[in-house]
Symmetry: C2
C-alpha cells in the first residue's frame, strides 16, 4: 500500500530559479532584494506593520521578548498547549510563565481565563492561533488595554487567516497585536525550510526592532544615509536570514492563492467525508469559532480518549499512513513542571491526550486517507 507521510513540503517550481538569481547577483547575506520583496508583499497583502524576516519563528518571538524589555520577574500569559518556542523566547529573558487553559471547543487559549492570570507583574499576553484559527483578538486586545499589557500574536501557523471584529471589520491575523510572529518552517502553508517573520504593528517598536535585528547596531539607518557611521547601540542578535531563504520564500508567496485553495479543498474533504464516521465513534472534528476563518493549516481529530487515539495511530500505521499527536502540555514538561503555579489546565491536558493530526499537504490525495481511515471501527 502506498505510503502517506504526515507532511511533504510543496515546491512551486520557482524556488531554485530565484535562489539562482540571488546567487548570481552575488548578494547572499541578509536584507537583500528578496528579503525586501517579501517584506513589502506581506505588508501590502495583509496590512501588517513593519515586517522583518527572521531565521525562524522562534527568533521572531525572541525579538518580541527583547523589544518588550522582558526582565527577570516579569510575567507573561500564554497557553500551555503550544510549541516550546512560545515559552522559550520569554524564558530566555528571565520571564515567569503563567499558563492559561485551552478553550473547550478549540485548543486555542481560553480568553475567559486570561484575567485570572494577570498580576501586577504581568507584562504581555501571547495568544497562539492554534491550527491557524484566530483567538478572540477583540477580547484579548481589550483586556490588554485595560491592564496596560502588550500582545504578541504567535501566528506561527496562521498565515492568510483572519479575525472578524464585532463591527464587521476583518483583519489578518498578525496585524492586530502589538507584535506578531510567523513561521515558514517546512511544515507550514508557505515555507522556506527554516524561517520566520516578526511583524511590528505598534510603531513605537519599529526603529528598535531594526537595530535588534542587525545585531544591536544602527546599520540599517547608516545604509539609508541617516547617520554617517554605525556602531553598537543596543542588545541584539543576528536575526536576519540569508537571501537564499528569502528567495525560496518568494517563490512560495507567488503561489499562495493556489496553495491555500488546495489545502482548503483537502480540509473540506476531510471535514465532510469523515463527519458520519467520526460521529459514530464519538470523535470530534475541528470547530472554527464564528470570528475566525480557516486557513487549512491543519486537520485534526479529537478522539474519545488516549486509548482510542493510540488505536487509531496504530491502525493508520498499519495502513501506511502517518498521523501524529501534537503538543505535550508545557506545564507538565520536565523543564517547567516544578515552576508551574499549580493552576488546573484540564482542557490543555485533554488536547494533549486526544488530539490527532491527519496528513495535510498540497499534493495529498485526501480520499486515500479518508478511505483507509474509515475502515477503523469496522473491524
Amino acid at each position: 500500500m502506498e505510503n502517506i507521510g504526515f507532511n511533504k513540503p510543496y515546491l512551486t517550481g520557482r524556488e531554485t530559479y530565484y535562489i539562482h538569481d540571488a546567487v548570481s547577483a552575488g548578494k547572499l547575506s541578509g536584507n537583500g532584494k528578496y528579503t525586501k520583496k517579501c517584506h513589502e508583499w506581506f505588508r501590502n497583502t495583509y496590512d501588517f506593520g513593519k515586517c522583518l524576516l527572521t531565521t525562524s519563528c522562534t527568533d521572531a518571538l525572541e525579538m518580541a521578548a527583547i523589544l518588550l524589555n522582558i526582565e527577570p520577574g516579569d510575567e507573561v500569559i500564554l497557553p500551555s498547549y503550544t510549541f516550546v518556542s512560545t515559552a522559550n523566547a520569554f524564558i530566555l529573558r528571565g520571564a515567569k510563565l503563567v499558563f492559561a487553559d485551552s478553550r473547550e471547543d478549540h485548543p486555542g487559549m481560553d480568553e475567559s481565563k486570561i484575567e485570572d492570570c494577570i498580576t501586577t507583574k504581568t507584562k504581555a499576553i501571547i495568544p497562539v492561533h492554534y491550527a491557524g484559527v484566530a483567538c478572540d483578538m477583540e477580547l484579548i486586545m481589550s483586556i490588554a488595554e485595560k491592564y496596560n499589557l502588550y500582545v504578541v500574536e504567535d501566528a506561527a501557523q496562521a498565515i492568510d487567516s483572519y479575525y472578524t471584529f464585532k463591527d464587521g471589520r476583518k483583519r489578518a491575523l498578525g496585524s492586530i497585536g502589538h507584535l506578531a510572529a510567523f513561521s515558514f518552517h517546512e511544515t507550514k502553508n508557505i515555507i522556506s525550510g527554516e524561517g520566520g517573520m516578526l511583524v511590528i504593528n505598534d510603531p513605537q517598536f519599529e526603529s528598535r526592532a531594526e537595530i535588534i535585528w542587525e545585531k544591536g547596531t544602527n546599520r540599517s539607518a547608516f545604509f539609508r544615509g541617516e547617520i554617517n557611521k554605525y556602531g553598537w547601540v543596543d542588545i541584539g542578535s543576528s536575526f536576519l536570514p540569508s537571501e537564499l531563504i528569502a528567495a525560496f520564500l518568494w517563490a512560495q508567496i507567488e503561489k499562495i492563492e493556489l496553495i491555500q485553495e488546495r489545502r482548503k479543498y483537502i480540509w473540506e474533504e476531510y471535514n465532510s467525508e469523515l463527519h458520519n464516521w467520526a460521529g459514530n465513534l464519538n470523535i470530534g472534528l475541528p470547530q472554527i469559532p464564528g470570528f475566525a476563518t480557516n486557513n487549512a493549516h491543519m486537520f485534526y481529530l479529537l478522539c474519545e480518549d488516549i486509548d482510542q487515539r493510540n488505536r487509531i495511530i496504530t491502525f493508520l500505521k498499519e495502513q501506511n499512513i502517518s498521523a501524529v499527536f501534537h503538543y505535550l502540555s508545557l506545564h507538565k514538561s520536565d523543564f517547567y513542571r516544578l515552576k508551574h503555579d499549580g493552576r488546573n489546565l484540564r482542557q490543555t491536558d485533554r488536547y494533549s491526550d486526544i488530539l490527532l493530526r491527519l496528513p495535510m499537504f498540497f499534493e495529498l490525495e485526501p480520499e486515500k486517507v479518508i478511505n483507509r481511515i474509515k475502515q477503523f471501527g469496522l473491524l
Copy 2:
C-alpha cells in the same frame, strides 16, 4: 576604470545543484543530509569535537553563553576590537564584559593582559582569532586552567587556520578551546550567505548542546531511539539552519583547498608587492606570530594615523577601489561606553584608527589593486 568592490562571494558552481538535490529530497528544515555531511567533514578534517551548524556565528556564540550558564553578574574577558556579536552573545545572558587590549603587533587580544582582567566573578575568556590569525592558545588555555575558566574561541574568521604548540603539535583553530564558533557569512573564506557553527570540544557539553540547538527539547535523542517521546527539558532556541544553507555550504567545502590556495596567493602578492611602498610611507603590513598560520582571510594596512587612512580611502575611492576600516572599539560604543571599567585600551583604539582592509576575494586580480594603490604617495 573597472570597479573593484571590497568583497565578492565566490561560487564554486555546485551550490544550486546541491540545493536542488535537497529540495528534491523534500527535506528542507534543519539537521538533514547536508547538515550531517558538513558536521562529519568538519569533525574529520580539523579534529573538532561535536559540530553543530547554526544560522550564524552570533547564534553559535549565544549557544556557548547558554552552555556555560552565564548569569547576571558573571564576567567574561574579550577583546574590545571585535564584532558586536562576540559581546552581545554574553550580554544577552546578563554578563559583564571586561575588555582586554589588543597586541602591539597584531589586533588580536594581548594575552599578557588577560590575568589582570580576572576576578572571582570571571567565568570565561573569549579569544578572537582576528583575520584568522591565532591568539596564543597555549598561554590562554594555561591561564584558563589556572583560574578554572572556560575558553570560547571566536573563530568567525579562522576556518582552516592553525596554532602550533611549543612541543610542535599543530592544531586547527576551533579545536582547542572548550567551545568554538565559526562564521560562514558571505564575507568569509567559505560561505553560506548567513551561517555559522558551534564546535563542542569539551564532551561535558555535548548532549546539552544538542538539546539547546533543538529548542530545548530532547528531540535528537528521540530520533536516535534513545528515549520514547521527546519534550521540553531545558532552555534553547531554533539554532539549526535550513538544509538549503547546509547544501550551499557543502558545495563550498568541496572546493576549500582551491579557495584557500587562491586567497593565499592574493595575500602573498599584496604582502610582497606592497612591501617597499608601505615602508616608504611608514605603513605597517600584517604580522603573523610564529605560533600562527595565515588562512588569508584578510589583508590589511596599518596606516601612520587616521588622517593617512582617510586619505588612502579617499584616494582608492577615486580609483574605484573599495577599501574599508574595521571595528570601532566596543568600549567606546554608545551602548557600552558608560559600562566599561575604564581600563586603558590603547592598542584597541590605535587599530580602530589606523587599520585599513584591502579587497580580498577569490576572483580578485590583486595586481589591479596593487598598481593603483602604489600611486598613492607619488602624487
